[in-house]
Structures are given as C-alpha cells and as structure tokens.
C-alpha cells in the first residue's frame, strides 16, 4: 500500500498531460470560457474546482459499492451539490470577500463536466486514495488552462495582470490599444483552441 506507488503517480500526472481534462478530453470548456476574462477569478475557480473534485471523488469512492447502479448519476449529483453548497456556506462565513468574488462561479461548479466525468469514470471503480489523487490532478490540469487563458486575456484585453497594470503608459502614448475582443468569451474559445493545438503538436504522444 505505497501511497505514491508508480500507479498512483500515473493517476496524478496523467490528467496533467496525456489525459488532460480540457486538452485531451475537451471537458469543462463551458466554464473555462466564462471565468477567464481576468486572472484572479480564474485562479480562484481553478482552486475551488480542484478541492471539490478531490473530495467528491473521495466520498463517491467510499460509498461506491453501495450506490444502486440505476441512480448513480443522481447520487453523484446530490453529493456534488451538497459539497458545493457547504463550501460556499463556509466561504461566506470565513472568507466573505472570496465568496463575493466567486458568486456565480460556485454554482457553476456543480455543472462542471469534469467533476461528473471523474466521478463516473474513476471514483466509481477505484479506492479513495487514488480517487483523491485523480481529483487533485484533474483539478490542477483544469486550473492550469484557466490560468494560461486568463493571463493572456487579461494582458491583451486590459494590459494588466491580477489588476496591476503591466503594459506601461508609454506604449499607450505610442498608439497601443487594448484588444476589446479579448474580454469576450469567444476569444477564450480561440485561445483554448490554440493551447490544444500547441499541446497536441509538441507534448502529446499517442499511446
């Protein structure tokens, strides 16, 4: 029962490259488009999804043998929804500012395809610890893309990063202009497409 056996390591690293939820399986695109117009919500959303995927995976994995096959999706949904609600309540009580920042996104987590995908594909068949690693791995893979897309969109769309101005005023004086297109969700789709292209071309190896 090595905690970090070779198998478990693969469970954790696979979603970061080969089985990447966004790049490989193209899951969770919807929320990736919605929350990446700035870097900060992208980071918070990435963290929240990581935490919730990991714990939902663990819970489902623990009760996996008792779940009736015919209502398994319902059970998964109930667990995820309960978890998301509890997390948002805790945030409201202990980190009010963050909860205000997240507002809509917390609700969006329930409908995140990555969560349901991992529960159905992994946690239903595996023990709690590998499930936890799988959840963290997938969450981080998702967060990674959000951060990349969020950073590019914020720099090109607003000339800032995390709210701090990056592009100096001098550039604007020479006629540089922020690209308003970057603040639109459509550009996120194109950027995600570019990231997938780079990933497939240089990092992805067929099994």
């Amino acid at each position: 029962m090595a905690l970090f056996s070779k198998q478990n390591k693969e469970v954790f690293t696979n979603p970061l490259n080969l089985d990447h939820p966004i790049l490989g399986q193209v899951l969770g695109i919807c929320s990736a488009l919605a929350v990446t117009s700035q870097l900060k919500p992208a980071i918070v959303m990435g963290l929240a999804v990581t935490v919730i995927t990991a714990f939902a995976n663990v819970i489902i994995s623990i009760i996996r043998n008792t779940i009736p096959n015919r209502i398994r999706i319902v059970v998964q949904l109930v667990v995820v929804a309960a978890l998301v609600t509890i997390v948002s309540q805790i945030l409201k009580a202990f980190a009010y500012d963050v909860s205000v920042q997240l507002s809509v996104y917390v609700g969006l987590i329930i409908t995140n395809c990555i969560l349901m995908g991992r529960l159905e594909a992994f946690a239903m068949q595996n023990k709690p610890w590998p499930s936890f690693l799988d959840g963290v791995g997938n969450g981080l893979g998702y967060a990674m893309i959000l951060v990349i897309v969020g950073a590019v969109r914020e720099i090109l769309g607003r000339g800032s990063l995390l709210g701090f101005q990056i592009i100096p005023d001098a550039c604007y004086d020479f006629g540089y202009m922020n690209n308003g297109m970057m603040t639109m969700p459509a550009m996120a789709l194109i950027l995600v497409g570019c990231v997938i292209w780079v990933h497939r071309a240089y990092f992805y190896k067929e099994k």
Binding site: A34, V35, S37, Q38, P41, N65, T66, I67, P68, N69, R70, I71, V74, V75, V78, V79, A82, T85, I86, Q89, I90, K92, A93, F94, Y96, V100, S103, V104, G157, G180, T183, M184
Partner: protein, 232 residues
C-alpha cells in the same frame, strides 16, 4: 454483503436515506454558520456605505469604528435607506439604490452633498451575477465609480426633482452624464434606471427625514445651512 443493489426497494430506501443525511448536513451547516454570515453581511453593508463616501481599504474593525464615527443618523422610507453622514463638518447624504442589471439584481450607495446644487460625493455599486470583466466592472472598477464624483444630480430649475444624473453611451453633458462601461451596455442601462428611480424622491425625502436642504423647489430657508457655516 448479499444485498441486491438494483432492487426497487433498495433504491428507494437508499435515496431516502441519502436525502435525509444531506438535508440534515446542509441544515446543520447553515444554522451553525448563520451568525457569522449575518455579521459578515452587516459589516459588508457598512463597508459599502463607506466606499460610497470614498473611504476605501479598511479592515473589519477599522471599518466598524469609522462607520460609527461618520454616520450620524439612519432612516428608511419606501424601502429605501437614507444615511446622514458628516465628514469634515460637512453634511453628506447617502442613499441606497436597488435595481436590475442584466442577469440579476444590482444595488449600490450614492452619496450626495451640496445644498443648492446637489452633486455626487461618491458612489459604489454592487451586483449579484453580472459577467466578470464586463458588467461586474460597475463593482470592480473603482475608476468607473469615481467618474460619478462631482456630477450634478438634479436638473436645474426643476420643480419636479427630475434626475439629471445618467449613464450614457456618448457623453454630451459632462456635468451630469457618466460614460457607460465598455461591453456592458445593458448593465450600464440598469445602473442608469436604478439611479433615476431611486434618486427621484431622494431630495424631498431627505428634507423630511433629516431636515437637511437637498434641492428643495422653494428657494431660501437657510436653517439647515447655518450650522455648517459656523463650523467652517
């Protein structure tokens, strides 16, 4: 375990138990955290009022103390809240705003000073579910909120308390109009409507509630102005 997990009885009992457990858990979490959440919300309202008075970046306890120092009187009329504040000896009226944005409710506070020509002292807006980076800018962008400062609130020579302050796409009259947020026309329109409806009776109500002058149609009546003059 020889349970048939696919039998109808099992499924019904399983889901019933699951729902009861989850319901109990959620109710417990809600009850346990409620006092803390309420305190946070109350503090947040106070912070928002201070934001609208251009007092930003205060921590919890500092904000509490500052609020107690600045806000003199509170009153409510027609579901709207009014706060009479005093900063550097000057009377400032804070009015609560409530309206509809694009996806959900928007709210805010606007502070007004000046007796014969009321102008905006500061503004703060909040929203429930506007798009981050677009509509949400009404809350996130301090620069945008600061555009309101110094704008005249009411139409000159008006006996009807007509609100002149507005959010428009193309600013033609810089003394009363504020440029709307790029990419968030509908949210900006919501802010515009909210200001128009909420400030309509603000002047009249302020006179009633606090006996301060605020663009009353009749000229003269200098009782409210006098104390201010003394302090200066």
């Amino acid at each position: 375990m020889k349970l048939n997990t696919n039998s109808n009885a099992y499924i019904i009992i399983y889901s019933a138990i699951l729902v009861v457990i989850v319901a109990f858990l959620l109710a417990f979490v809600y009850q346990a955290l409620k006092p803390m959440q309420d305190a946070n919300v109350a503090l947040d309202v106070k912070k928002q009022i201070l934001y609208s008075l251009n007092i930003r970046d205060l921590d919890g306890s500092e904000a509490e103390a500052k609020y107690a120092e600045v806000v003199k009187q509170e009153a409510e009329k027609d579901g709207q809240k009014y706060y009479l504040c005093e900063i550097n000896g000057e009377d400032i009226l804070v009015v609560s705003l409530k309206g509809m944005g694009l996806w959900g409710g928007i709210s805010g506070f606007i502070s007004i000073h000046g007796d014969d020509t009321p102008t905006v002292y500061g503004a703060y807006f909040n929203h429930e579910s506007e798009t981050a980076g677009l509509g949400a800018e009404i809350k996130d962008s301090q620069a945008w909120q600061e555009k309101f400062i110094g704008k005249k609130v009411f139409v000159d020579d008006s006996n009807t308390h007509e609100v002149a302050l507005s959010v428009v796409k193309k600013v033609e009259d810089p003394t009363t109009q504020v440029d709307c947020v790029t990419g968030a026309t509908l949210t900006s329109n919501g802010v515009d409507d909210m200001i128009k409806t909420c400030l309509k009776d603000a002047g009249k109500n302020a006179v009633e509630l606090f006996s301060v002058m605020m663009c009353t149609p009749e000229p003269a009546d200098s009782t409210a102005v006098e104390p201010k003059a003394e302090e200066e």
